[in-house]
Symmetry: C2
Subunit: 296 residues, 2 copies
Amino acid sequence: MNVNEQLNEYAQMTEEALGKYIPSADCPQKSVIEAARYSLNAGGKRLRPALVMEFCRICGGKPETALPVACAIEMMHTFSLIHDDLPCMDDDDLRRGKPSCHKAFGEATALLAGDALAIMPFEIIAKAGAEKIIEPVYALKIIQLLAQLAGFVGMIGGQTLDLEYENKQPSVSEILEMYRMKTGALLEFCCKAGCIAANWGVQEKLIPAGNFGQRLGLAFQITDDILDITADEKTLGKPIGSDKENGKYTYVSAVGIDKAREYVKQLTAEAKEFLTEFSDTEFLNELADILAERSN
Amino acid sequence: MNVNEQLNEYAQMTEEALGKYIPSADCPQKSVIEAARYSLNAGGKRLRPALVMEFCRICGGKPETALPVACAIEMMHTFSLIHDDLPCMDDDDLRRGKPSCHKAFGEATALLAGDALAIMPFEIIAKAGAEKIIEPVYALKIIQLLAQLAGFVGMIGGQTLDLEYENKQPSVSEILEMYRMKTGALLEFCCKAGCIAANWGVQEKLIPAGNFGQRLGLAFQITDDILDITADEKTLGKPIGSDKENGKYTYVSAVGIDKAREYVKQLTAEAKEFLTEFSDTEFLNELADILAERSN
């Protein structure tokens, strides 16, 4: 099975399971449920679920064991996209070629749909722990890790810096720290949580897994910056040039496209180096390459 | 010790612990941390933490055991207030006599501070479970319960209904169902979670605890509606008449103030009836009376 086929299989597993977790919209508060479902179903690469399940697999677990965590992280990611697109944040009308959540459902409903998608991940992981699909103490560890890496010192901290730096010229190291939190933290979570779900929560293995995720995340974010300048709108599914329009000074603005491309290559090589601590890593190695060369 | 002294003691325990959970603002993303701290410190009765710790106590546990859960629910409640006040929601400039979070820190920072306060509760409860302050399987049960009662079918579902019903005339049963979700759900959580933290998670005790919380929540919300009409702005700490101005049709609008006052009395009596399943309930009985007679 090649990397794209495997990625598709993980995506299908995730989408099927996500559909079951979201409650039926057959209730008076259906608008918020439909808004959440709309954004969850808006496509995307399902990269995060694939990382969770693949790390579980290479640590000797079944991918299915980590499926609740995979769904949880996809919800958390979707929550961040919905809130990021809101008028008081990036004010984006399009996401993956479709109207963003608040354009389709209104601002208040989008706010609440995001809120609910930030909360439900913990219900899903706790349920998997309570039902012993994941060992209870490991489920607690995964919940702690998710909340840390999504919260004040993780993703939300990074989004705060993103705001702070608007219409400013942060230094290269400030930009990279912001990316580490904003994008790297959740990818670090995926890789570590996959290991923990396989009951492989030993510190010495979590460190290379987390480092792989962090490098992949940085490369991913810088590639996003590059595509914001070089892609065409149709392939990208959202307007290009939005960083500049939003007063965002990116890594690419700081060092130029050529150096940024070089750094993506370097980060990808570093990421792959951390995989040598594991075996059976063909999928992850190829995935890192594909992400560095993507056009949307 | 009378009920107000005990309430103050629980509040002090909560405020001291809350201060330790929020990370230091000595970091580049300090704005979001300061915004969260501002709203957490804005006072309030700390009713929810008191319910959690007192139910833990009457179930034979130490109040301290439930302190992490008490802090978690206060954060979740504060998150809901911050987002509720945002311009796309109720657009309130004042909260407890001070500028609301987005008035003090800007809309984007308030949004993110709310997001972080919706996530951190799970970190705190998971940590208490991992450190065996609360039994791991019970910590997972509390996390599941919090996520359910805060999410699509709980508080956020109720806030969605609140929006849906704006400028409409919902029926009395629709209003009460909205209150049950919007306000009752988190109070139900507090009472049940206190029992569970004391390792008293047996279903037959959770039901009266949850019912007490639900009745108290309904009485609390209807009292809020009454105060929105009858209180003076200084005592209430926010503008009066805001429900009408926001196009909100409340229980009081539907049945009138006299019948609403009568119903608060009935709900309070019903709540107290559920306490007969427990012993040593003097504090809870008095608390229910105080809440029904409050002026802010």
